[in-house]
Symmetry: D3
Subunit: 239 residues, 6 copies
C-alpha cells in the first residue's frame, strides 16, 4: 500500500520533508509506504483563508498525478483540509484531511473536544470546517497559541509550553475531555504523547490519525462517494 502526503505549498526544504516522512512512515502499518511531496506552487505556510485558497489548484494537480502514479490514497498536509472537496472531485482514490480525521477521532473518544491551533486568524475557519464535517456539536472550543507556523519550529519549547497552557484552559474552562492539535507543524513537534501524559486526557495527533484512517479506508476498500464528489461535469474523469 502506497500513501502520498502532499505538502500544500513550497519552501519547506528537503530535510524537513524527509524528517516528516519518517515520522509518518513510523506511524504506518508494516505493508505501507508513505511518500511525501510538495505541490509545485503555494504558500510557505497557511495561516489564513487566503493562503489556503492559494494552495488548492496545485494541490489538486499533485493529487491527480498521484493517482496516475499508483498511489493508493492521499493525505492533504494541512490541518485546514484545504480544497478537499475539489481534490475528491478530481480523483477516485481516497483523500483524507488531517482536520476531519482528527475531529471524528476526537468525537469517538469523548463528549467534547477542543482544538489547539496556531493563530486567531484560523479559528473561525476551523469552526466552520467542523460544521461541514458534521461534528460541530461536540466542538467545545478552538484556542490558539498565537505563534506563527514558521516560528513554531524555531522555538519548540515555547510552542510546547503554550500548547499545554491553552489545552489546560480548554480542559478546565471549556470542559473539553479530548484535545486535538490543530496544525501540522504542531503535529510534527513530537510532543503529543508528552502532552497527553501531562493533561490526563487524550491528545489527538493529526499526522498519526490521518495515516491510520487512510490505511483503514484502503484496507476496507472504501473511498469517498463519487455521488457526493462527482467528477466536474465539464471535464469528466481526468485521463
Amino acid at each position: 500500500m502506497k500513501l502520498l502526503y502532499i505538502v500544500p505549498g513550497t519552501g519547506m526544504g528537503q530535510a524537513e520533508m524527509e524528517r516528516r516522512r519518517r515520522i509518518l512512515q513510523s506511524s504506518a502499518g508494516k505493508d505501507v509506504q508513505v511518500d511525501i511531496d510538495e505541490s509545485d506552487r503555494g504558500p510557505t505556510s497557511i495561516e489564513s483563508s487566503y493562503e489556503e485558497y492559494l494552495s488548492v489548484p496545485d494541490l489538486v494537480t499533485r493529487a491527480v498525478q498521484a493517482e496516475k502514479e499508483g498511489s493508493d490514497g492521499v493525505i492533504l498536509g494541512c490541518f485546514g483540509d484545504p480544497g478537499i472537496e475539489a481534490v475528491r472531485e478530481m480523483v477516485s482514490i481516497p483523500v483524507v484531511g488531517p482536520g476531519e480525521c482528527s475531529m471524528v477521532t476526537a468525537a469517538l473518544l469523548g463528549h467534547r473536544f477542543s482544538i489547539i491551533t496556531i493563530m486567531d486568524s484560523v479559528v473561525a475557519s476551523m469552526e466552520n470546517r467542523a460544521k461541514i464535517v458534521g461534528v460541530d456539536e461536540k466542538l467545545a472550543s478552538v484556542r490558539s497559541v498565537n505563534i506563527p507556523v514558521l516560528k513554531l519550529a524555531n522555538d519548540p519549547a515555547l510552542a510546547k509550553g503554550r500548547m499545554i497552557e491553552e489545552a489546560r484552559w480548554a480542559r478546565d474552562l471549556d470542559r473539553a475531555d479530548v484535545i486535538v492539535l490543530g496544525c501540522m507543524s504542531m503535529a510534527f513537534l513530537g510532543v503529543s504523547d508528552e502532552m497527553q501524559a501531562s493533561l490526563g486526557i487524550p491528545v489527538v495527533n493529526p499526522a498519526v490519525v490521518s495515516v491510520k484512517i487512510l490505511e483503514g479506508l484502503i484496507a476496507a476498500k472504501l473511498s469517498h462517494s463519487k455521488k457526493a464528489f462527482p467528477f466536474p461535469p465539464k471535464f469528466g474523469k481526468p485521463t
Copy 2:
C-alpha cells in the same frame, strides 16, 4: 459610489459582459456606477468545487486591485460566493456574494426558501454554504435543472421551463414559500419577474439583490468585520 462586479473566470466575451453590466446598472441607485470585469485566469463556468477553487486566486488579485482603483465595494460574480473569506481577508472595502445576499433576503421574505440551480454537482456545496452563512434552518431544498451553464444561455426557453418546473416542486412538495435563483446565468436570463408572477411567491434574483445589499452596506458605512476576516498575519494589509 462605484461597485465592481468581478466575473470569476474567463471567456465570457465582451458582449455578454456588457449586457450583464447594463442589467446590473439598471438595478443600481442613481448615484451608483457598476463596473464589470473578468479575473485574469479561471474556468469558463463553475459547475464543481474544483472550478470554484480554480477561480479564487485571480479573483482575490482582481478584488485587491479594485480597492486600489477606488472601487467602493465588490460583488463576486458567482452564486457559490467563491473564496469569499479569502477576498474579505485581503481587502477592507465591502465584498458580497450573490449566494449569501440571496439567502438572507429569502430568510427575510418567508419561512422556507428553495434554491433552483444548474447541476446536481453543486447542490451539496450550496447546502454547505447555507450552513456557513447561518440560515440553513430556513433552507427547504436545493433543486437543479441539470442544464450546464453554457447551454443555459443557448436555450433560454428550455431553461425557463425547467426552472419554473423545479420551482413548482419546491413550492408544492418542499413547502418553500420563497424561491432563489441559484446561478448567475439564471439571474441574467431576465426571467425572475415572470417566474414570480407565475409561481405566486417571491423569486429572488441574486444579481439584483447583490447590487442592492452592497449599495446599502456602503451607504451605511459598513464593511465586513476585520476581526472576522483579518489580513493574513504573514502579509498584513496589501500595499
Copy 3:
C-alpha cells in the same frame, strides 16, 4: 419611492418624531421619501413582551392604511419587530423590522454578532426573535445596558458609555465580531459611527439598515411571501 416608518406607540412628541424622520431621510436614496407616524394607541416605550403585544393591533391598522395611502413599504419602528407576522398578513407591500434587518446584515459581515440592548427584560425575546429569523447560530450574545428607554435619551453620554462598555465585553468575552444596536432609541442617538471607530468592528445601526434593506426590496420588486403570510382566511385582503 415612499416609505413609512411607524412608531408603534404614542407620546414621542412631534419634535422627536421629526428629528428621527430627518435621520431616516438622510439614510435614504435620492428618489426615496421617508415619512414617519405614530400608531393611534400604544405604549410610550417597549421594554417588555406585554408592551410589545399592546402595540400590535394599532400598528397593523396604521400599516394597512399606509398601503391604501400609497406607501411602497413599511418599517416597524421597534427593534423587537412587534407583530411583524400580523402586519405582513394584512398588507401586500413589503414590511421590514429593524431587528431582522440588523441581524441578517450582521450575519453577512462576520461570524458572530452580539446585540446591545436596553434592559434585561427583553433579552430572551431577542434570542427568540433570532431563532424565528433563522440566524440564531450566529448570535454570540445579547447584552443590556440596563437603562430604560425614556432615560436613554435624557442622558446620552451615560448611554453611550455603557453601550461601548457592553460592546467591548461582547467583543472580548463573547467573541462577537459584529455589534448590533438593539433598540431604536440607541439607533437614533447618533453614536454608531463613533462606536464602530472605537471598537474596531462593525456596528450595525438598525434605523439605517432598515431603510436600506426596504429600499432594496422595493427596487428588486420583492415583498414578503403571501404563501408564508397569507391574508387571514376569514377576512381576505383588506379593502
Copy 4:
C-alpha cells in the same frame, strides 16, 4: 383549587362556553374547580397571526383580573398560546398554553409527534411555537384539515373524518408516533379517544392535558419563572 380557562375572543355564546366548561371540569381532579370566561374583546376565532395578536391585550387584562379574583392558575384557550409571554409577565400565578402543554406531553410519549390543525394559515406559527417551547427537534410535521374553525363545529363528522385522514398520513408518511390535536375546537369535539383507538398511537387532547399540567404545577407549588417573565419594568406588579 380554582382554574380559569380564558377564551381569547368573543361571540362563542353562553351555551358553548358552558359545554366546554363541563368538559374541562370532567378532566379536573376532585378538589379542582374549572371556570371559563371570554375576554372582553377579540376575534370570534383565531386562524391567523393577526387574529392571535388582536386577542392578546384583553386576554392579559382578563388574566390579571383572574389573579386578583383568586384564581390559582390560568389556561389560555387557544392552541397558539397567544401572547403567553405577555400574560406571564403580568401575573404571578401559573399560566399555561394548550400548545406548549400538548407538545411537551407528546415529547414524553414518543420520538416524533405531528400536529393536526385547522388551516394552512397557522402551520408556520405552530412550527415557530415549537422552536420557542424548545421541542421542535421532535416535531415531525404540522398538517391541516383546511376546515375553518367555525365550520368545524357545524360538521363534526366531516371534521373527524379529515382529522383521522391527516393523522394517518402523519403516522405513515411523516413517521409520527404521537398525534396532537392542534385547535381547541378539535379538542372539544370529543373525538380524541376514538381517534387514538383508530390510529393505534397516542392522541393528545390539548384541553385535557392543559388542565392536568396546570393542576400539577399548582400542586407542586410551581409557577413560571419571574426571572424569565419579569413584570414590565415601567409598570411593576399590577396592583
Copy 5:
C-alpha cells in the same frame, strides 16, 4: 388510581423507602395510591453509567410485574431515567422518568434551566439525556455538588448549602431561570421549597413532578406510543 415508584436498586432499607413513599403519597391527588418497591438486584446508588445499566434488567422485570398486578403507571426512581426505552417496550401502562418529567416542566416554566446534580461523573449522561428527551436547546448547564449519593443523606445541611451555592452560579453565571434538582436523594431532602424561596426562581422537584405528570397521563388516558416503543419482536407482549 395506583402508581408504583420503583427504586432501581437494593439496600435502601425499609424505613427510608417508607419515608419516601409518604412524601410521594403527599404529592398525589386524592384518589391516587402511590406504592414503592425496590427491584430485586441492582446498585445501592447510581453515580455512573455502569451502575445505571446494572439496574435496568431487574427494573424492567419489576415494571412488567407491576402491570400484571394492576398498577396504572410506573415511575422509575432515578433521575437518569435508567433504561426507560426498555421498560416502555415491555409494558403498556405509562412509564415516566423523573429526569424527563423535570426537564419538560422546566421547559414550560422558563427560557433556560440548569440541573444541579451529585457528581461530575453523571453530568455528560444528563446532557445526553436532554438531547434524547428533545429539550437540550433550553438546557443552560448541569452543575454538580460533588457529594456522593450515600453521603448526601447523612449530611443534609452540607448538601443543601452546596445545592444552593451551585444553583446560584447556575442562575447568575449560566443565566438559568429555572433550577432542576438532578438526583432523587436531593428530591427527598425536603429542601426544594426553601431553595425556591431563597433563589427567587422555580426549583423543580423530580419526585413531585413525576407523580403529577404520571397522574395527568393516566387521567388523560395516555400512555407512551407503542409505535415508538414496540414490544420486542422476538417476545411480543409479556404474558
Copy 6:
C-alpha cells in the same frame, strides 16, 4: 496487538463464532490478532432496546476481564454499541462500537449517509445513537428490511435482495451518498463489496471499520477519555 470482539449474548454457536473471527482476522493488519468471545449471559439477538439493556452487565464483565487478560482493545459486537459508556467507564483500553465507527467513517466519505438495518423496532435507537455520537446532521435516514436477525442468516439471498432494495431507496429518495450496514449479521453476510459495486456509492461494513479504527487508535496510543468516562466513583478502577 490483540483485539477482542465480544458478542453481547449467547447461543451463536462455536462454528459461527469461528466464522466471524476469521472474517475479522482477515480485515486486521499483519501484527494484529483478533479474538472473539461471547459474554456469559445475554439475548440470542438484539432487536429491541430491552435486549440491548439485557446484554450490558455481562458485556461489561467480559470487557473488564479482557483488559486483565492483556487485550489491547475491545469491539462491542452489536451495531447498537450496547452500553458503551458503561464499558468505557470500567476499562482503560480503547473500546469501540461498530455503530459509531461506521457513522464517523460515513461522515468522512460523503455528505449524507443512510443506515440499512433489520427491524423497524431499532430505527429510533439508531437515530438517537447518531445524536450521541454527534453526527446526526449527516444522517439521511435509517431504513429497515424487516427481517429478524435469526432469519437473516438462514436466507442470505432474501436478505441481500432486500438490503439492496432499501439502499437504493436511501440513495435515490433520501439522497444518501453513503450506505452503512446497520446490523452485525448483515456485516458478516459477505455482501458489502457486491452492494457497493451494485449501488455505485460506498457501503460501510461495520465489522471491517471497527477493526481498522480500533487498530488505528491503539497504534496512535489513544483511548477513550477517562475524563469523559471516569471509573464509577464508588468502585474506582477494577482490580
